[in-house]
Every structure is written in C-alpha cells, then in structure tokens.
C-alpha cells in the first residue's frame, strides 16, 4: 500500500506551479491555433470580394480553390509531382551513395580525413545557388543538372553525419573488436554499421530535407516541369492563383516528407536503440 502510494507520488512529481487545465479551457485551447488562419482567410475573402487589389495580385480564395481542383483533375499536379519525385529520387540515390562512401572513409580513416577535409569544406561552403550557374554552363538545363544539384545537397549532410557518427562510436566497442580480433569486414558489419546507424539516419533525414529545398530551387530557376516550376509558370502567365496553388502543393509535399521521415526515424529508434 505504501509503495503503491509512493509510486503515484513519483509519477506526478510536477513542479507545484504548473496549472491544471479545466475541461472548458481545453476545448478553447484546441481552437486557438485556428483563430489566426480563420481571420486571415476572412480578410482575404473580404479584400478579394471588395476588389481592393487586382486579381493578378490577390486572386479570390475560391479562384485559388477552383484552380487547385482543375489542376488536380486534369493531371497537371500529378504529372509535375511525378517528374519531381523522379528527380529527387535519382538525386538522392546518387548523393546518398557518394555521401555514405565518403563519410565512411572519413570516419574510419584519419589519413583520408586529413587529405579530404579542406577540399570538402571548400565545396560545402558553396551553396546550391552557387553551383547552379556553374553547372548550367557545363550541362545546360538538362535533367543531369537537376540531379547533380540535388545530389550535392544530399551529399553534404550525409558525409558530415556519417563521418561524425563513426567517429563518435565509443572507443570501448572498437577495443572489444580488436581484442576479439575481428576481421575488417566483420568489424564493419557487426560493430561500426549498427553503432553509427542513428547519426547516419539523421544525416539521411537532413539530406532529404535539403534535397527537397534544392529541388524547388533548381526547378524554379532551370526547369520546364516539376512542382517547383509550377509557380514560375503561373507567375509568367500572371496567374497568381496558380502560384498560390503551387506554394500550397510545395508546402504539403514538404510536410508529408517531414512526417514520413519522422515516422521512419521513430520506428528505427525502437528497433535499434541508440548506443551510448
């Protein structure tokens, strides 16, 4: 009885000053996040219906919705999505493969790190927007350009996190491997890879995030298809409703990607607990 009470006391060991929300407050609290968007939407509707601004600058909400539905139904969004997906997939595979290989080399071998570090740092200091004009001159605006830019965006965080993840493996694990006289391959498969899985996945997740941003940038600047291009296309035709549809699609895609990666990371964390 006493220990049962103790456990309950421990479980509610909150600082005395945190308030307890009452039921009606909780209901109000759930609606609060919607207040600002609702107000903005009303203001938008008002401005559009009163004609305060030209439709090229501020299209009516229903216009945006109509365009969205239209583009969805005639397959434009899906087609562009497919192109973008293909690009980001290819770019990611290329960048991740190179990134993992380089990261492993840097993590495992100190000499490799000493040779490669300055050059890599210089490369990392150049953002995607810097690579675009250089690569356009070399490759034109073909598909190769986009894949390379995305691959570079993926490469950077994966190299950094993989190398760091391997270097952060506790010395005790590596010593144990030495004492057991493990062969290099076994050491890699059984010790290094599992122990660095967490940071590596962090890098992959970051890489995919950067890949998405790079995708949008390169599609906006040097493409004729893709969800990034949609906005440029709408802008060129002075159809701001399409621009807004494009922004919404980009936002939703980014959000979906983030959620998917978070879910995968949580599954991974449950299967392979982080070392430490």
């Amino acid at each position: 009885m006493a220990s049962h009470t103790d456990a309950r006391l421990d479980a509610i060991a909150v600082p005395a000053s945190t308030p307890r929300p009452r039921p009606s407050r909780a209901w109000r609290a759930a609606l609060l996040p919607l207040l600002l968007p609702a107000l903005a939407l009303c203001a938008w509707q008002l401005a559009a219906s009163q004609g305060w601004m030209a439709p090229q600058i501020l299209p009516a909400p229903e216009q945006v919705w109509a365009s969205f539905v239209e583009l969805l139904e005639n397959g434009d969004i899906a087609a562009n999505f497919a192109v973008s997906l293909h690009r980001i997939g290819m770019g990611f595979l290329l960048g991740a493969a190179l990134g993992l290989a380089t990261g492993i080399a840097l993590g495992v071998s100190n000499t490799a790190r000493e040779y490669l570090d300055p050059l890599l740092r210089a490369l990392f200091a150049i953002p995607s927007i810097g690579w675009i004009p250089i690569l356009i001159l070399v490759f034109g605006i073909a598909e190769t350009l986009k894949i390379l830019i995305i691959a570079k965006a993926v490469f950077v965080p994966i190299v950094i996190h993989t190398a760091q993840g391997i270097r952060d493996i506790p010395k005790t694990h590596l010593e144990t491997a030495r004492v057991l006289r493990l062969r290099p391959w076994t050491r890699f498969i059984r010790v290094i890879a599992p122990a660095s899985l967490g940071p590596v996945f962090s890098g992959v997740r970051l890489g995919l995030g950067h890949a998405f941003i790079a995708l949008i940038v390169v599609e906006m600047l040097a493409a004729t298809e893709g969800i990034g291009y949609m906005m440029v296309w709408g802008r060129k035709q002075f159809q701001t409703d399409i621009v807004i549809v494009g922004m919404i699609v980009v936002g939703l895609a980014g959000f979906a990607l983030d959620c998917a990666l978070l879910a995968i990371e949580q599954i991974l964390n449950r299967k392979v607990p982080p070392h430490g």
Binding site: A2, T5, D6, R8, L9, A11, I12, A16, S17, R20
Partner: protein, 259 residues
C-alpha cells in the same frame, strides 16, 4: 527542557499562522493527500526547523508558504493577513543557489530590491551592507561561477534578506554543500539571524542541523504529510554539539521520525 505536542497552535499575534492547511493531488481521478491539516503558529523572530524523511511534504509546505503554489485548503496568514502569491515580506533561499549567472554578485543581491523602486544610492548602500553582513564584500563584482558553493549560497541568503523580509524561508539550504562548509554556514546563519532577528523556517533532513539552529523543531511524517511532533529547544546559543543535552534532544527527535 523539551516538550512534545502534536500542535504548535498558541494564542497571540503571529508572524506566520497555518490553519488546517492541506493539499492533495488528483491522480487517476483519485484524491492523493500530500499534506493534511497542518497547524502552525510562529512568533516574530522565532527560528523553526522542519525535519522529516523524503516525501513527507516539508518542501511542499514551504512552497505553499512562499506563495509559489496557490492550490491548498486552509489558511496561511502572515501577520494575520492571508497570503496571495509570493510577497516581498517572505524571502526564500533554495537548495541550489539560483543566482543568475550573467549578473555579478552585487547585481544579483540588488535584484532582491528590484520591486521596491529605491533610489539608486539607497539601493547600493543596502546591497553593500548586506554583502558586508554575509562576508562577501570583496566579491561584489565577481560572477557566480567564480564562487564556491558555500559563497554562492551566502550570496543567495544576502539576496533573500536585502529586502528586509519578515520571514526567511530556506529549503534544504546547505544540502548541496560539504559538511565542513555546512557547519560554517550554520554558524553564519545564526550570526545573521541574531543581528537581524527575522523569523526563519528551515526545511532540512539533517536533525543535528535542526537542533543546532532552532528554537523549535517540528517533525513531519509522510503519507499524508502531517506534523507529528514539535520540540521546543531551550538550550542557550551558541550550542555545543558535544553537550549531552544536545544529544538527548537529537535522539528524541530521531525517535519521533522513526515512529
């Protein structure tokens, strides 16, 4: 020489009065009493220690008196008036000194006067006087990370006292310090108290510390937290820990704890 009664209630005008103070948490829709019907009366200038095992609610009680928690039953009266949140008439010292690391010691102590809107010269004078009292005048411009644990705790005491509160509340103030520093600071605390004559409540798990410092030692038992004994200590100060009477009182209180 020693008396034992479950209630400390006495008639008269008191610095602090607790009347049937209770507190409960609700866990899984069941009420879980943490404090039950605490009655306490403290006269001005009295030094009270509250001892008890972990989980008996002594820190919770102190936080209620400090005004950090407003959810309780019963009444807490300062000079006959019910409290409403933290007040400048109650100073508090925590176990971790909680000095702001980005301010100098003098600036930290000055924060104790912030709500009083004083003339800057007045404020500086009082800060200097307080630093003198706790023996940290030479460290006025130093920063907390440059001080030892004992010195930082002295600065925390200075900060709590600079506004000349009526009541000083201390939650295991020397718990984080080594035993030598603890003994030294106990003596310092008594010296400061005898010069300032504030009412002091010290929550501690160290019975010897309680007997050394206090006029009265209240013993709390857990589940639910309640006062099970109060011992009045009539030994003159400074007290000798080797004195057999000191040992008797200490053993008696330990006995109350074990019940």
């Amino acid at each position: 020489m020693t008396t034992s009664s479950p209630s400390l209630a006495r008639p008269g005008s008191y610095a602090l009065s607790l009347r049937r103070v209770g507190k409960q948490y609700t866990v899984d829709d069941q009420p879980l009493p943490v404090l039950e019907r605490i009655n306490l009366d403290l006269r001005h200038g009295e030094f009270l220690s509250i001892v008890g095992a972990s989980g008996c609610g002594k820190s919770t009680l102190l936080r209620l008196v400090a005004g950090l928690d407003a959810a309780f039953e019963g009444e807490i009266l300062i000079d006959g008036r019910p409290i409403a949140g933290p007040g400048i008439e109650r100073g508090m010292v925590f176990q971790d000194h909680r000095l702001f690391p980005w301010l100098s010691i003098a600036d930290n102590v000055a924060l104790g006067l912030d709500s009083l809107d004083l003339d800057p010269r007045d404020r500086d004078r009082r800060v200097a006087a307080m630093l003198e009292l706790v023996g940290l005048s030479a460290f006025a411009k130093a920063h907390p990370h440059q001080l030892s644990g004992g010195m930082a705790q002295r600065a925390a005491i200075a900060r709590a006292l600079v506004s000349e509160p009526e009541i000083l509340l201390m939650d295991e103030p020397f718990g984080a310090l080594d035993s030598l520093t603890r003994v030294h600071l106990q003596e310092e605390l008594l010296r400061i108290w005898s010069q300032r004559r504030v009412t002091v409540i010290v929550v501690t798990h160290d019975v010897e510390e309680a007997v050394y410092l206090s006029d009265t030692v209240a013993v709390m038992a857990p589940r639910p937290g309640r006062v099970v004994g109060a011992t009045r200590i009539d030994l003159p100060r400074p007290r000798d820990r080797a004195d057999p009477r000191f040992g008797d009182i200490r053993r008696a209180i330990l006995g109350q704890l074990r019940r």
